[in-house]
Every structure is written in C-alpha cells, then in structure tokens.
C-alpha cells in the first residue's frame, strides 16, 4: 500500500470523526412519543429563532424519558404521565412539570369492508383489552354499532411494548371505567397486557394497526390523522358519543384548568363534562428546578417562554389542543422559579 494513500486515508478518517454540525449550546432531551410530532416541529423552529441552541429529542417513550432524566443522561425529559412521588424522590431538588399541549388518545382500527365510524363503549374497550371480547361481531360491540356489518373475525389487539405515557393514560382511563381492569391490570407506563401485539412507540402501534386487518390500537390523535386511519367515537362519562377533536379535548381539561394543582400533576381522563372527550391528557416537559450551566438555562427558559406563546399556535394544526390560558399564566410563574 502506498504511503501517501495511507496517510490520505488517515486524514479522511480524522475529518469524518470530527464532523460536527455547528451548535454552541447542545441540549439533550428524551421522552414521550405522544407529542413527538409537535416537539419535533417546535425544536426545529426554535433552533431557527435561537441559532445558538440546538435541542436534540430522542423519542423513546415516557418511561425512558423519566429514567434518562433521573439519571442525568438528558437535560430534560418529556412524559405523558406525571412523575410519581417515588420517581420525584430520586431528585435532590424537586423537578418541575411543564404541561405543553393537550392531546387525545383515540382508538384506531382496521376492519376490512367497514367504512362507517365505529362507536366504542367503555365496557367494550375494557372487554377487548382484557381479552374477553375476542371477535368483532360480539354483541357488546353490536349494541353501539347497530347497522354496521361487523365481520366474524378475531380482534387483533395492539398495545405498547415500551414504557409509555400513552399507555399510562389509556390504562388510567380503563381503570376508571372498569373495576375488573383496575384490579387485574392497573395503570402504569408498562403493564402486563392480557392480550395483544406490542408495538414500539405510538408509531409502532399505528404501524401495526395500519398493516394488520381486524386490528385495534390506542394512539395519539395526530398519528391516526396523519395516516388517514379511522378512529372511533367513545362514550364519555355523561353518556355522549364523541370523537377526539380540539373542542372535546379542551373541554376535558376545563375542570382541571380551573383548579390546577401547583405542580400541574393531574389526570383528566373520563371527566364529567357533557362534551369532554374521555381519554385526554396533558403532556409534560420535565425540567430541573436548578440548571447550573448558564447557557443551557438561557436556552431552556427561552424555549419554555416561546413554547407557551408562539409555540401554542402550532398545536391545532397537528391535532393537539393548546393550553388553557390560566394554565399558561401559572406556568410562566413557574419558569421564574428555575434557578
């Protein structure tokens, strides 16, 4: 081998190793897949406004986000599920929860030849996910869907295989509407699902339902919208069947908005409002209460301000509901508390 080509190779290797995209302040974040579509957009837009800062988001699921945040592997985390007292206890100083948007979890399905929108009762959903309702033409499903010809086919259930805030919210809802679910399975980011295929991330579950006939899965609204997949009407606590949309999701947060706890940790599933969508949730950024690096602190607080004002305008376009006004005000006050 010629000497010159060898050294050329070494130089080339060094050049590749040192290839770095310019960024003065690098901030790592990780967490929920639920808000990933809007976070991706936000971080990119904010990068244009504050050219010095670059926020890298790893969409690993709420469970992973909480863990990486606790270990200090990332600068902040993201989760649909507010951290438990036990998880908060691992920190020297209590971290802050910052709700970012409101979202709805829909039940998307893939039933060949069925073009009408399905209606799901809480009993039906609990039965399907408990493995007690196994076929689409089960009478329980037929009750709410008179006039729809449901096939005599086995239901393929899809759930999350990773630690997911979306799972938490969905199981939280199921625990509220089904005592059997509550005692048998419970609610958490990662439960022992009685039946079904595990998909990774909201993307994974959407993908499974999209590709598998006779399947059903729970995903954040935007995933079903982007893939143009059907999703069902759900019966809420007041007895109305409705779909997840801007209005119904915002309505679900109405009660909570009026009496938001100081740390923002709240569950808004199965709310009593007449037009409230039953499986709605805030999604949170988990921010440390003390950021030592001045440049990072400037970038993060800057992002939070931007997110609460300009960022909220992007929410509706991506199927999320913007935060209620008094929640925004309360959060602005919390930003000032970050040391």
């Amino acid at each position: 081998m010629k000497k010159s080509s060898f050294w050329l190779g070494v130089l080339g290797a060094l050049a590749i190793l040192l290839m770095v995209a310019q960024a003065k302040v690098l901030i790592n974040a990780a967490g929920a897949t639920f808000p990933y579509p809007i976070y991706g957009k936000w971080f990119q837009e904010f990068g244009k406004i504050d050219a010095d800062a670059q926020i890298n988001y790893q969409s690993v699921g709420s469970g992973g986000g909480i863990r990486m945040f606790s270990e200090g592997t990332v600068d902040f985390g993201a989760s649909d599920m507010p951290m438990t007292d036990e998880q908060i206890g691992k920190f020297k100083t209590k971290p802050f929860h910052f709700p970012t948007v409101l979202g709805g979890i829909v039940l998307t399905y893939n039933i060949p030849h069925v073009t009408q929108d399905m209606k799901f009762t809480p009993e039906a959903l609990a039965g399907i996910y408990l493995g007690k309702i196994t076929k689409w033409n089960d009478p329980e499903l037929g009750k709410a869907n008179a006039g729809v010809k449901l096939p005599d086919a086995e239901i393929v259930v899809a759930h999350r295989s990773d630690g997911s805030g979306t799972s938490f919210v969905f199981t939280d809802y199921l625990s509220k509407v089904s005592p059997e679910w509550k005692s048998k399975v419970g609610s958490s980011t990662s439960v022992q699902w009685p039946v079904g295929i595990g998909g990774k991330g909201n993307e994974g579950v959407t993908g499974i339902v999209k590709q598998t006939p006779n399947s059903i899965g729970y995903v954040e609204l935007i995933y079903a919208l982007q893939q143009k997949m059907p999703y069902g009407y759900l019966r809420n606590a007041a007895g109305t069947f409705l779909k997840a949309d801007l209005e119904s999701v915002t309505e679900a947060a109405a009660a909570a908005a009026n009496s938001m706890p100081a740390d923002f940790r709240v569950s808004i599933t199965n709310q009593p409002g007449k037009k409230a969508y039953p499986i709605a949730t805030f999604t949170y950024l988990l921010i440390p209460s003390k950021i030592d690096d001045a440049a990072k602190k400037k970038a993060i607080t800057g992002f939070l301000h931007w997110m609460l004002t300009d960022g909220q305008k992007d929410a509706a376009g991506l199927g999320y509901a913007p935060l209620p006004k008094n929640v925004v005000t309360q959060e602005e006050k919390q930003i000032a508390l970050i040391k």
Partner: protein, 323 residues
C-alpha cells in the same frame, strides 16, 4: 551495568535485569503483544463479572425461580424468564427444523455432486448470505415475509393441520413461526458451509467402498459418507443454534412482543434478545433493569454451552478425518 553477551553469561537478577532485558527488542515485542492478549482476558472476565454484579437484585429476590416464572410485570416488580427462554428456544428449534434438512441437502449437493466450479460459485454466494446484517433480514421479514405468512402460509397450515395445537389460534402474521422462518434463512449459510466442509473431509475410500458394494450414488452418500461426517454436521447444527439463540434484530421485528408462553406457533411471543432490545433503554426501576441484565446473562450462558458443544463436535470430526 548492562549485561555482557546474552548467550554465554548466566541470567543476572533483580529489577536491573528486567530493564536490561527490556533493551532487547524481542522482549518489548513480547510484552506489548502479551499486554494486548491480556486485554482479551480482562475484557471477557470483566464482561462476565459485570453481568453478574449488575444482576444482583433479581438474583437475590427470585433465585432460580426466575427461570421458571412466567410473570413479567414491571408494575408489581415481578419478573420471570420463562416466556423469553421459551420464545428463544422455540424460534431457534423451528429455525433448525427448517434449515437443517435444507442445509444438509444443499451441502450434500455441493460436496458430492456438483462439479467443482458450480460448487465453489454456489458456496461463494451462500457464504455471502451469512454477511447480510440482521436488521436487513428484519426489514425484509417485516415487510415481505409477514404478509406472506399472514395471507398464505399460516391460513394454509390452519386449514390443513389446524387440529394440531401448534397450528391453531389467531393469525397475526407476526409470531413464533415467522420468527422461526427468518431465523432459518439466517442460519442456513452456516449449516451449509460447515456441513460441506465436514463432507469434503470424508476420505474417498468410504464412498468408493460403498459404490463397490453395489450401492447407488444416493445410498453411498447417505449411508456411508454422511454418517462419517455426522459429527461435523451436528457441530454445524449446534453452531447454527448458538447463532439463532442470540439473534436480535430480525426476531425483534417480527415476534410480536408478547411476554407470555403460548402453545400455538401462530401466536405472538418474545425472545430474550428481543425484550432486552425493546425495554432496556426505558426500564424505570432498578429491579427492571437488572432483571433484563439477568436475562442477558442467561442467554450468554446458554450460548456458551451450545458453542462449546459445537466446537467439540467439529474438532472431533476433523481429528477423525485425518486419522
């Protein structure tokens, strides 16, 4: 004081000795390469130690019950390895059931029948199959194999053999069977390659003796040559098994991720490698993380045993062949 001629003087003692010897380039070379050889020792021992240490919690909590429990519940903190060991073993055995007949058959053809040029060309291509990365097999399995299994193969098996427990139940397209099929494709090149070598080692006298006694070509192959090479062929099977057990990506993408034991091959399952790949970066409690590490340790031990058996068998054939 430096030593005099290294050949005649007796070896001096002390630290001075060592530095003296160090002047000698050979000693430097020996020490340097020794150091690097030692790193292999250090790393391997360190790996085992690390796995052992980072799995202390579940070992103390569950003991050997870890291996027999089917619970995998992060909420209640109960973890058991059975569904994953089951899934790993089932998919690997399935893979072998498909790959071994196919592979040994192909090896027989390549070693006994094919003209040398065809034999080496075919072998060249087959060995390239071994180089295809696992994630690519996973990609193909996920998009191409799953629909085929779901729409054609599994319904066919259900229609014809559905009375058997293993071919009953809901058809997903994903599951044990599909994972077994893609694993079979991945282990095939190893089985062919090693079996072919084992068959080539068989001395021609065996073949000729059988033919001289009036055997047909097939009979001579099947009854004289193959049995002679059987240790090497078994070795290839064990090697293939060891690879299949540790295979991660392709299986993760098609096994369906259901941490339970199921009878039906159409059902969704889980393998050790798959659950570690899926859950490791997100496990929240220490017990959860360490249980995953313990699973990794179990898998490692499994592959050590199988690999050791494989090598013994292959060495045994080589020795026999040369005697």
């Amino acid at each position: 004081m430096a030593t005099s001629s290294p050949v005649s003087a007796p070896p001096p003692r002390g630290a001075r000795v060592w530095f003296g010897r160090l002047r000698n380039g050979d000693e430097v070379a020996r020490l340097v390469t020794l150091a690097f050889a030692c790193t292999i020792l250090v790393v391997t021992v360190g790996l085992i130690f690390q796995l052992w240490a980072t799995s202390a919690l579940p070992r103390h909590k569950f003991g050997f019950g870890f291996l027999t429990s089917s619970q995998w519940n992060p909420v209640t903190g109960e973890f058991g390895a059975l569904p994953f060991i089951y899934g790993t073993v089932v998919t690997s055995v399935l893979a072998l059931l498909i790959a071994v007949p196919l592979g040994v058959g192909a090896a027989i053809f390549l070693a006994e029948l094919a003209p040398p040029r065809i034999s080496s060309t075919f072998t060249f291509f087959i060995e390239l199959l071994a180089a295809v990365p696992s994630v690519i097999y996973g990609l193909l399995a996920f998009f191409a194999l799953v629909p085929i299994m779901r729409d054609y193969v599994e319904p066919f098996l259900k229609r014809t053999l559905g009375f058997l427990g293993i071919f009953s139940g809901t058809i997903f397209g994903l599951g044990y069977l599909t994972a077994g099929v893609i694993l079979a494709i991945m282990t095939l090149p190893f089985i062919i390659s090693i079996s072919r070598e084992a068959l080539l080692e068989v001395p021609t006298e065996q073949r000729e003796a059988a033919l001289a006694l009036g055997a047909t070509r097939w009979e001579s192959t099947w009854q004289a040559v193959v049995p002679y090479a059987r240790l090497g062929i078994f070795g290839s099977v064990f090697l293939g098994l060891a690879r299949a057990l540790g295979e991660t990506m392709a299986v993760t993408m098609v096994i369906g991720n259901d941490p339970k034991v199921h009878e039906s091959l159409f059902a969704l399952g889980y393998s050790i490698a798959a659950i570690v790949a899926n859950e490791f970066s997100e496990a929240t409690t220490d017990l959860h993380v360490q249980s995953l590490v313990l699973l990794g340790l179990v898998l490692f031990l499994l592959t050590i045993v199988i690999n050791a058996l494989a090598r013994l068998l292959i060495i045994a054939t080589a020795r026999r062949g040369s005697s």
